[in-house]
C-alpha cells in the first residue's frame, strides 16, 4: 500500500512541479505585484496596499479611463461575437451532419481548416482583404461599380468591429462546429426515428431532441467562447491596431500599454486581476443560467 502511494506520487510529481512553477508562483506573485508600486525599469518601489485598485475605480484617473474603455470595447466584442460563433457553428454542424456520407468529410475539413491558421496569418489576410488602400474587397466593389471611392473599412466604425468579428468567426467557428458534430453523433438515433414516426419536422427535432441532447456541450462551447472572446488580443493589435480612436482597443491591449508604455507593472497586474474576476463572474453567470434552464425543463417535463 505504501509503495503504491509512492508510485502515485512519482506519477503526479512532474505535473505538480510544472504547475507550481509556472502557474501558482506567477499567480501569487501577480497578486503581490498588484498591491505594490512596481515598474519594469525601476523595480519595486514598495507596498501601497489597495492603491492600484483604488486608481482603477477613481473616476477621471488615467488608469480608470484606460480600464473602463478597454472593458467597454471587449464587452462589445463579446456580445457580438459569441452568439455568432455559437449559432453559426451549430448551423454548420447540422448542415455537415445532414450531407451525404461520401462528401461529409470534405465539407467538414473545409469549415474546420481555418482554425489551423495562426492569428497573425488571419490578421495579415483580413488586413489585405479589407484595407482601405488597395484592399481586395474595395477593388472588387470598385470594379463592380457598387462604390465610387474606396471605403476605409479599418478606420471607421462600425466597419472596424465588423471586420474583427468576421475575421474571428472565420478563424474559430470550425472548432465549435467540431464539438457540436461530436455531440450530434452521440445522440441516440432511435430518438430521431421516434420523432419521424410522430411526423415531426426539422424544428420539432431541433427543439425536442437535438437541443436537449447537446445541452452540456452547448454550455461548454458558450463558456469557452466567452472566455476566448474576452482574451481577444492579436486580431485587434494587428488588423485595426486598436483604432479608430482606440475604439477597438481590447482590455488586454490596455493592460499591455499600462505595463509597457506607462511603465506600471503594479497597476497592470491589478487590472489583470480585476479582468480575471470579471471573466469568472461571466462564466459563473453562464453556468448558473444553463443549470437554471435545465431545472426548469426537468420540472416542466415531469
Amino acid at each position: 500500500m505504501k509503495k503504491k502511494r509512492k508510485t502515485a506520487g512519482v506519477f503526479f510529481a512532474p505535473f505538480a512541479l510544472c504547475f507550481v512553477l509556472f502557474w501558482l508562483v506567477p499567480f501569487v506573485y501577480g497578486c503581490y505585484l498588484s498591491v505594490c508600486n512596481m515598474s519594469l525599469t525601476r523595480g519595486n518601489q514598495g507596498f501601497i496596499g489597495l492603491g492600484n485598485y483604488i486608481q482603477i475605480f477613481t473616476a477621471g484617473s488615467v488608469y480608470s479611463e484606460a480600464f473602463f474603455r478597454g472593458l467597454k470595447n471587449i464587452l462589445i466584442f463579446v456580445v457580438t461575437s459569441v452568439p455568432l460563433l455559437v449559432i453559426i457553428a451549430l448551423v454548420l454542424a447540422l448542415i455537415v451532419e445532414s450531407l451525404p456520407e461520401k462528401v461529409k468529410g470534405i465539407y467538414r475539413t473545409i469549415y474546420f481548416m481555418s482554425y489551423a491558421v495562426s492569428v497573425t496569418a488571419v490578421s495579415a489576410v483580413f488586413l489585405w482583404l479589407f484595407n482601405g488602400n488597395g484592399g481586395y474587397i474595395n477593388n472588387v466593389l470598385l470594379s463592380a461599380g457598387l462604390i465610387n471611392e474606396p471605403v476605409s473599412w479599418l478606420e471607421a466604425q462600425p466597419f472596424a468591429w465588423i471586420v474583427l468579428v468576421v475575421a474571428t468567426v472565420w478563424w474559430t467557428v470550425g472548432y465549435n462546429m467540431m464539438l457540436f458534430i461530436n455531440a450530434l453523433n452521440s445522440i441516440d438515433s432511435a430518438l430521431f426515428e421516434a420523432v419521424a414516426v410522430d411526423g415531426g419536422g426539422f424544428f420539432s427535432r431541433l427543439r425536442y431532441i437535438i437541443l436537449p441532447g447537446i445541452r452540456n456541450v452547448m454550455a461548454y462551447v458558450i463558456l469557452m467562447t466567452i472566455i476566448a472572446s474576452f482574451n481577444m488580443y492579436g486580431q485587434a493589435t494587428l488588423i485595426t491596431r486598436g483604432g479608430p480612436l482606440n475604439s477597438t482597443k481590447s482590455l488586454i491591449m490596455e493592460i499591455n500599454d499600462v505595463i509597457f508604455t506607462n511603465n506600471n507593472l503594479g497597476e497592470g497586474s491589478a487590472m489583470a486581476i480585476i479582468m480575471g474576476i470579471v471573466v469568472m463572474l461571466f462564466a459563473m453567470c453562464q453556468n448558473w443560467l444553463s443549470k437554471e434552464k435545465k431545472e426548469i425543463k426537468e420540472v416542466s417535463g415531469s
Binding site: M113, S143, N231
Partner: protein, 277 residues
C-alpha cells in the same frame, strides 16, 4: 416523395458548397496574392493572378535579416514539438495517477484543478514574464516552451477519459506482476491514444498560435517563432506589399495546415467531448 427528398438533398449540397467557397476565399486570396506582383496585388479585383510570379518568395527567402523564415520555422518546430510532447507526457502521468493510483487528496486536487481552469490566463501572463525577465531567460527557448506544461485542462481531459475506461486489463497485468510504469506505457497508453492525440493536436495549435506570450518573452528577430515573426512583418515596413506578406504568411501556415490535413479525421469521434459530460 423520393423526388422531394432528393431535391432537398441537392439544395443542401449547393448551400454547403457556397458556404465552403466563402470559407475558402481568405485562404485562396492568400495563396493567389502571393503569386502576384506588387502593382497587380494592390489593384486586382480577381483572385487569380494574370501574371504568375515567384518574386515574392524569392525576396522573402533572400532577405534573411528582416525575415529569416527558415530560422523561424526551425524555432517553431523546436518549440511546438518539445512543448506538445512535454504537455502530453506530464498530463497523462498526472491524470493516470489521479484516476487509477492511490494519490492522497485526489478528490481535492481535482476540484482545485477545475477552479484553476476557470481563472483566465491573463492573471499569470505578466508576472510570469517579469519573473522570466528577472531570471535573464527571455529570448531563449525556455520561456517559449515550459509555461505551457502548467495545463490543468489537459489533465482534466485525460482524467475524464480514464475514469470511463474499464480497469480489468490493468488488473490482469498487475496480477502478473508488471510494474506501474510498464502497465501505464504498455497497456494504458495504447488504449487512450485517441484522446492523447486530441490533446496533442489542441496543445500544438495553442502553442503554435499563441501570440501575446511569445511576443512578450522574445524580442530578438532570430529567436522568433513563425507567428510572432509574421506579426513583425505585418506591423513592419513590408506592410505596403500584400504579395510579399501573403507569401510570408503562406510559408508560415503551411506546416500547420499539412499537419491538420493528416490529423483532422482522428478528431471526429466523441473524444473531443470527453470531459464535458
Amino acid at each position: 416523395m423520393k423526388g422531394k427528398k432528393r431535391l432537398k438533398r441537392l439544395i443542401l449540397v449547393i448551400a454547403a458548397t457556397i458556404i465552403a467557397y466563402i470559407f475558402l476565399v481568405p485562404l485562396l486570396f492568400m495563396v493567389f496574392t502571393s503569386f502576384k506582383g506588387l502593382s497587380e496585388s494592390i489593384s486586382s479585383s480577381e483572385l487569380l493572378p494574370h501574371v504568375w510570379t515567384l518574386e515574392n518568395y524569392v525576396s522573402i527567402l533572400e532577405d534573411t535579416t528582416t525575415s529569416p523564415i527558415m530560422r523561424w520555422l526551425i524555432n517553431t518546430i523546436i518549440v511546438t514539438v518539445t512543448g506538445t510532447v512535454l504537455v502530453v507526457a506530464v498530463d497523462c502521468l498526472a491524470a493516470y495517477s489521479l484516476a487509477r493510483l492511490d494519490l492522497p487528496l485526489k478528490g481535492k486536487i481535482i476540484i482545485f484543478l477545475i477552479w484553476v481552469m476557470t481563472i483566465p490566463g491573463i492573471v499569470t501572463t505578466f508576472p510570469s514574464f517579469y519573473l522570466f525577465r528577472e531570471l535573464k531567460l527571455v529570448n531563449s527557448f525556455i520561456p517559449l516552451i515550459v509555461p505551457y506544461t502548467a495545463n490543468a485542462t489537459g489533465v482534466y481531459l485525460i482524467y475524464n477519459f480514464l475514469i470511463d475506461f474499464p480497469v480489468s486489463l490493468e488488473e490482469a497485468a498487475r496480477i502478473d506482476g508488471a510494474g506501474e510504469f510498464r502497465i501505464f506505457w504498455k497497456i494504458v497508453c495504447p488504449c487512450i491514444k485517441p484522446v492523447m492525440l486530441t490533446l496533442a493536436f489542441i496543445t500544438f495549435l495553442a502553442i503554435y498560435n499563441d501570440f501575446l506570450w511569445p511576443s512578450l518573452v522574445v524580442s530578438r528577430n532570430e529567436m522568433k517563432t513563425l507567428t510572432t515573426g509574421i506579426a513583425s512583418l505585418v506591423l513592419g515596413a513590408n506592410f505596403v506589399n500584400p504579395g510579399l506578406m501573403m507569401a510570408a504568411t503562406l510559408i508560415a501556415v503551411l506546416p500547420a495546415l499539412v499537419l491538420f490535413m493528416f490529423l483532422n479525421k482522428y478528431l471526429v469521434r466523441s473524444e473531443t467531448n470527453v470531459g464535458i459530460k
